[in-house]
Symmetry: C2
Subunit: 468 residues, 2 copies
């Protein structure tokens, strides 16, 4: 009898120590990330040892090699490179520009070529300036107003919206389509106010497109800092005949081969159900790409490691994908989606982090309602970590090509207030990464992956096992 | 008849344009703060033109003058200075310190005196080191183990808690009480690991106390950077006989007179019901005190201005209080509480911002349940601004002295991840302030003050007017 009681006591003790709730698992994931996370260490290497990773560049290939090596050391079941052809654009030597107030009297300007732009003539380009607030204003102008001039797009990101991405979307078309539209009206070049909410001296680059503009009609396009945009605008109000000069040396080369870096652990129960977690490995060249999107890559890389650390053997196949060439054309996403289709793979969930390594606030989703509402039931599990934002309001560009009726796509939402202070500028660098914020992001991603892997999206399986 | 219809139409139109919901008012407050906020401009002056504002210092008096002038220009009904006596401690010349591995072989250390500490002897202080993880470990030691040595408090802030304030509270007693306890065991000095979660080279100062230790028994106390703490600890493991040297020149002087700066608008309907909004004007001296607590001051200063801008005439008296000497003894809070009592004032609500000008996350409350539950009903009004945290989990030290049964105290909660990277160190400066984050904080405070002013805490008045 006594023996029996001891046995009962011991077995109930055993049950107590092994039966862990989702709350326990999330607590462990956050703890492991904050105490033993690797994301900061890897990002230090990517940022400080490699640096900016323009697609097609030597640095981008070094980043492919490095991250592949790291994933291999993590003992995934499979690590491979998926070949993708990427466009290759080079900046060339330093850019140079000024406002010419009068012959011989100049004021220097902080400028950088936009990605994809052609160079100026070797001696640079000097012309009068016509300022517009955006493409619509330009389109309403006559050929004679624009011909022979540099069009200055000075649309400001709207300050009084809370999401800076919304502010960005409000005028990014001036950057992407500005040169194409200005060329139609005979402009000789375009300069664009940097897409930043902050007044400072840093020019922010970004991808522009000539669309179907014939090669001979392509005009050079550059960004100037917000302070310079303010100054130029003020000066134009006083004297509309002042000239702007810039010289840039960039060039579009032929496409080159590059790679998406992929690592996976095969699911123990449902190997054909695939969960992907990703970021994009390429960056712009002015900074070291720490926030955009070195952070997203290292956060994704740490997800499987964190699950391993807390003793999770995934039921489903979990795949880390570091995409190449997100910034210019999303080709990598297309290539991966093609691969997934050819292999008859069933992607149930795709998560990406591409909004900078700032404090995580939650997730944004796109996909079938039943999956979204299932995920929303887990929201309260995240509240102790100050993760409150769960919205079905679409995802950003990156994993778009995977879209089909059944897959649920998700973005990690990080606090957006400081993102555009750094994005595509020289201050997108490791100094502006906070270790804890980065690690909290990894933990937040790993936690959602843990839940999706555990419960899948089979609603009956889900309801029979979970009570919240 | 026709005339009547037109009149009806016009009057209903009139009602439509004037009847604005709380949602509308909050939207306007956030918009005004992000487009016309003054907080960043004022903080630029406080930080870059004045700088660190150690209580009793010339800078602190300049800050009193400046903020008084600003409040006066805002045309409050009344602006005044409330005299308070404050302790005056000066750092003196630069501190200097090193680890002596062997005679003549030294490694420099980043060190700063703790506020309130005595100086070392003129030639400095050199002694062997005894490392402890905290006060409890020290108390368990024998006199002979400690006598004649420098006690090195190396308790690390706990990394795996989400609130960095919780991590701070876990070992701040080593800083405040360390010297007092070490002196009892015959120590000649103490050095403390900086209260920061980050590994870097910056020493963080802070207030320490000798309690009732006799003047002759007071030993000098300093903080060293986290990197130096790690290094020293490693070296002590190899050789426990290495020595530590430091020289500091600080001094406690007699108390001097200073001021709380107060401005108010008298309530139109309930002038005797008082709502206070505050921060503390004094700071430490190593940085310029931008986050701690210049940010809180300028945010509080902008609250009434924002309400004015959107056309609110407060029903209740709203008072901005910039407290002096929060860091060392909370005397200012006591003085104000005494004043409030003497004037038979009924404080219904006191809000403070003192956690840095980071992205606002919500509020923490302390006070009567009926007030807290009333405030919680407004929570959803704040969600569009990503303000999710409403908790009754106590307030920080600053407005504590106002506590009585009826007043509701509140802290603005800002994101805490980066706060201790800067707090009390030389990098608590304006470069690390983000304009939007600061302005979102002002707007969040103004929004809550708007609601409390409008509805008060009379539950019948409240329930008859609001439907959420």
């Amino acid at each position: 009898m006594k023996f029996k009681l001891i046995f009962l006591f011991l077995s109930s003790f055993y049950v107590t120590i092994v039966a862990q709730s989702d709350e326990d698992y999330l607590r462990k994931i956050y703890k492991e990330s904050l105490t033993k996370g690797k994301s900061y260490h890897w990002l230090d290497y990517l940022s400080n040892e490699i640096g900016g990773r323009l697609s097609g560049s030597l640095n981008s290939e070094l980043a492919v090699e490095y991250t592949k090596k790291v994933l291999e050391e993590l003992e995934f079941d499979r690590v491979w490179l998926q070949p993708v052809m990427v466009p290759k654009w080079i900046r060339g030597g330093p850019e140079f520009s000024f406002i010419e107030v009068a012959p011989g009297k100049t004021i220097p300007v902080n400028l950088c070529a936009l990605g994809g732009s052609v160079a100026t003539p070797k001696e640079g380009l000097k012309a009068e300036v016509v300022e517009v607030k955006g493409i619509e204003e330009l389109k309403a102008m006559a050929f004679t107003d624009v011909q022979g001039k540099i069009v200055f797009f000075n649309c400001q990101m709207q300050v009084d919206v809370i999401s800076t991405f919304e502010a960005y979307n409000g005028c990014v078309n001036q950057l992407f389509d500005g040169a194409k539209e200005a060329a139609k009206l005979g402009a000789v070049g375009t300069i664009v106010r940097s897409m930043s909410l902050r007044l400072d001296d840093l020019p922010h680059t970004g991808a522009m497109s000539y669309g179907i503009t014939a090669i001979n009609n392509r005009i050079p396009s550059a960004a100037i800092s917000t302070n310079d945009a303010e100054r130029l605008s003020s000066m134009l109000k006083i004297d509309s005949s002042i000239k702007f000069y810039f010289k840039q040396n960039c060039k579009q080369l032929n496409d080159v081969q590059s790679y998406n870096v992929i690592g996976e652990i095969t699911g123990a129960q449902y190997p054909k159900q695939i969960i992907t977690v990703g970021g994009h490995l390429n960056s712009w060249d002015l900074g070291d790409g720490s926030h955009n999107d070195g952070a997203g890559c290292v956060q994704a890389m740490d997800v499987l490691r964190l699950l391993k650390l807390i003793g999770i053997q995934p039921k489903r196949t979990i795949r880390i994908i570091l995409f190449m060439n997100e910034e210019k054309g999303l080709r990598r996403g297309l290539e991966y989606a093609k691969f997934a289709k050819e292999n008859n793979e069933k992607h149930i969930f795709a998560l990406e982090s591409a909004s900078g390594g700032f404090i995580p606030r939650g997730f944004s989703f796109q996909g079938p309602d039943y999956k979204v509402s299932q995920i929303f039931k887990w929201k309260k599990l995240f509240e102790p970590y100050l993760i409150h934002y769960f919205k079905k309001d679409g995802i950003r560009a990156d994993i778009g090509p995977l879209t089909n009726k059944s897959v649920l796509l998700a973005d990690l939402i990080t606090d957006s207030q400081r993102y555009f202070d750094h994005r595509h500028a020289s201050n997108d660098n490791f100094d502006f990464i906070n270790k804890r914020e980065l690690e909290l992001g990894s933990a937040t991603m790993a936690s959602l992956v843990y839940l999706v892997d555990k419960y899948g999206f089979n609603s009956t399986e889900y309801s029979s096992k979970v009570k919240h």
